[in-house]
Amino acid sequence: MFNRSPYISSAPSVSIIMLKVLLALVPGIAAYVWVFGGGILVTLTLASVTALASEAVALKLRNRPIKPFLMDGSALVTAWLLALALPPLAPWWLVVLGTLFAIIVAKQLYGGLGYNPFNPAMVGYAVLLISFPLIMTSWPAPLALAQAKLGFADQLRYIFGGALPVGVLVDAISSATPLDYLKTQLTLHHNIQAITQAPIFGVLGGKGGELVTGAYLLGGLYLLQQRIISWHLPVAFLGALALMAGAFYLADATHFASPAFHLFSGATMLCAFFIVTDPVSGPTTPRGKLIFAAGVGALTYLIRVYGGYPDGVAFAVLLFNIAVPLIDAYTQPRVFGHKK
């Protein structure tokens, strides 16, 4: 074999790319700890250990080299994204189950890194949401709002044993998420202005939650600056979501929340920079990326407003994952020297 050029390479390896994604999540995690307490660190650790172990076992069973694939970092990214999407203080078995499903079923059964048609973290999340809707939609209140504040040790006990300190009731630590609260209140014919007077609402989104969302945005900007992700995806996703929200908001501001609220609530920013940007399960052409992300954005809005779940990111992403081969096929860019 004499013709094996090019002999040089500039590429950051897959591991470096994944490492930078993890790094970009750190501000969001820090904000999370600040708002909801250190419990999330336990959840992250649980998910990471489960992901690495199950990936190693799956690779072993598939007779694939374990070390290079464990080192690629993709399992950790899946684990972290799933952990951050789950309610804080989710019981340990929920975290483990979701991660197992994401890694074993959504990723390894399809052929491992590079071959999964669906975003593994979102598959794990959707499975949990459908199977355990009650746990998946009960969020603890941000520490600042909770009647009873759990310390790290209390959170740890709660995650592993489901036990609260003596005298603390579940209601004392939990509250509806802003998206959830908005949805139920609207069905009771309250108007937005009245609803958003509730203490759980902050300046843009939910109190506390908006801080986490802002931190994700910060991490996302770092990924853009590092050219780990292309601008098409977050811009189209956020643009479509804001446009939809804006149109409805302009038409009827008493029944539809503002675009700013939608941008800074729920999983919006996490999705814009970390989920919709998953290269493996997303399209590759520039126009395809715009269509895909805009579709996810629009669908997210529709599910939030008209669907059965308070947030729609996971289902929107999964539904558009199905459309990726089609989107790619129809958005092939013009090749040099071919007709315009």
């Binding site: 094996r4 090019p6 002999y7 040089i8 290079p68 694939f69 590079g114 013009r334 020297g337």
Partner: protein, 519 residues
């Protein structure tokens, strides 16, 4: 001359990369003229096209510049003796080619006198253009940018596609290579003289030399030389971005025109030559010298990287010694690190396509990391200068889905290597494309051969049937004659009808077989 191209406005091509240039190492010293070594090996094919025809015998003595093998037809180029000496053999030898296969070559033993044959300048303005082109063909002038396409073909005026813009390629976009840079710095006026001849032959309305902005010395030398020219020649500084020196990319950057896929630059009124080719045109026309040497960059793991004016046929290892290196147990790369290839041996000769030799070392070009699966990040698509989707082509090539690969314009790939260069999964993408291309070409050839064979077979079967029918007819005739004339016509008709039926049945069978095959 009226400028058609506005050089104040340059264009961009899609993608591209900017690898570390590494040109500084080999440009600190002037070009060293190398005296001919003892033994020279001259492959009969150092160009695109037909193998040149041998004109000398083993044992014959030749002078420097003497024709050794003449061009075989238009699509061919001649080979000349780089020094005086004796032909000692004509046999297959290893040559610097990516295939690694040996090819027919002349071995010339130098007599040490380096004695020129009689040669004179060509008074080109008093000859017909056709005659000048013929002289170029006889002198072995080919594109020295690496493609070695016979230049006389590209310099022929074509009334259907007149050349308005003559572009001289001094971009030299590949890392490490600096032979054009040094040639422009030191022999600018000779290049300009060559351009004047090319402009005259093509009757081009304007001439532009494109030079990347990492070669300011070359650009200023060319500017100074252009001032002394009898014609207007513009020097355009183009951004340093690989593969900006690809002909189609440079044409787009300078003129904004895209050469249509499968067509030639002349389709958009442009012709493009390497600056070194212009230099050889000048040496031939103004000095009567055929192409017997070229500038070669020797760099990489050598003590004194530099450019050398090398007699064609010199063994690479001898040349590497001159640069203070050793070829022993080292991987040698001919060309640059992006598109070059490994040499099958350090003894192979310098040929017309040899622009650069890199003595490789693990520190310079480390072994590639093991490949991981494609994560569809599309960084390859971002940098592809042709606007292809390399990740899709990879997928199709890997799964032998050649029809799809062709649909996704595999054959527009110029194998520049940008995709592999940026791939985070370390996938040798270009290798997959080379494989798919060669498989498709082989399949097409096999299909052509099968088609011809099938047609022949069909004809043969038809002939057999016809002969059978004729025999049956004769037989029927004889029977009829024997049994009297009664029923003769009926018998004849029946025989013919049955023969026709057999032929039809056969044909129908073949047709359905064919239909199945094409499905």
């Amino acid at each position: 001359m009226n400028a058609i191209v506005n050089l104040n406005k340059l264009f961009k091509f899609n993608g591209g990369v900017h690898p570390p240039e590494h040109k500084f190492e080999s440009t600190s010293m002037p070009i060293k003229v190398v005296s001919p070594p003892k033994t020279l090996v001259l492959p009969l094919r150092q160009h695109v096209g037909n193998v040149s025809k041998l004109q000398v015998n083993v044992g014959s003595h030749v002078l420097k510049g003497q024709l050794l093998a003449k061009a075989d037809g238009q699509m061919s180029a001649a080979v000349h003796a780089p020094t005086s000496g004796t032909i000692v053999s004509v046999e297959d030898q290893l040559i610097p080619h990516p295939s690694g296969l040996p090819d027919i070559s002349i071995t010339l033993q130098s007599d040490g006198e380096d004695r020129w044959m009689a040669h004179q300048p060509i008074d080109y303005r008093n000859l017909s253009k056709a005659e000048v082109l013929e002289r170029l063909r006889e002198a072995g002038v080919v594109g020295l940018g690496g493609a070695t396409f016979p230049s006389h073909i590209k310099l022929r005026e074509d009334t259907r596609h007149p050349v308005k813009t003559l572009i001289l390629n001094g971009a030299e976009c590949e890392p490490y290579i600096s032979c054009d840079d040094m040639l422009m710095r030191e022999r600018a006026i000779e290049i300009v003289r060559g351009i004047e001849i090319m402009q005259y032959l093509l009757d081009a309305e304007e001439c532009i030399i494109g030079i990347e902005d990492n070669k300011p010395e070359a650009a200023s030398a060319m500017r100074e030389a252009c001032v002394q020219s009898t014609i207007d020649i513009a020097v355009a500084i183009v951004p340093t971005i690989y593969p900006g020196g690809g002909a189609r990319q440079l044409i787009q950057v300078l003129t904004g025109k895209e050469v249509p896929s499968g067509k030639l630059p002349t389709d958009v009124g442009v012709q493009c030559f390497n600056v070194a080719t212009a230099y050889t045109v000048h040496r031939l026309v103004n000095h009567g010298e055929p192409v017997i040497s070229r500038i070669v960059t020797v760099t990489g793991n050598v003590k004194r990287p530099a450019n050398f004016d090398v007699p064609l046929g010199m063994a690479m290892d001898e040349l590497i010694k001159l640069a203070g290196g050793t070829a022993e147990q080292a991987d040698l790369i001919m060309g640059g690190p992006m598109m070059g290839f490994n040499l099958p041996s350090s003894k192979v000769p310098v040929v017309k396509a040899t622009n650069c030799i890199i003595v490789s070392a693990p520190e310079i070009f480390p072994e590639p990391q093991p490949a991981l699966p494609c994560i569809r990040c599309a960084r390859c698509a971002d940098v592809c200068p042709v606007g292809l989707q390399p990740q899709e082509l990879y997928w199709f090539s890997k799964s032998d889905n050649f029809e799809k690969a062709r649909d996704y314009k595999l054959f527009d790939c110029i194998e520049c290597g940008c995709c592999t260069y940026v791939c985070p999964s370390n996938i040798p993408l270009v290798q997959y494309y080379r494989y798919a291309k060669s498989e498709i070409i082989a399949q097409d050839k096999a299909k052509q051969a099968a088609d011809i064979a099938r047609e022949r077979n069909e004809f043969r079967l038809m002939r057999i049937e016809r002969e059978k029918a004729e025999r049956a007819q004769k037989h029927a005739q004889r029977t009829a004659e024997a049994t009297g004339n009664a029923g003769e016509d009926d018998a004849k008709k029946a025989a013919i009808a049955s023969a026709v039926e057999r032929v039809n049945a056969q044909k129908a069978g073949e047709a359905s077989a064919k239909a199945e095959e094409s499905n």
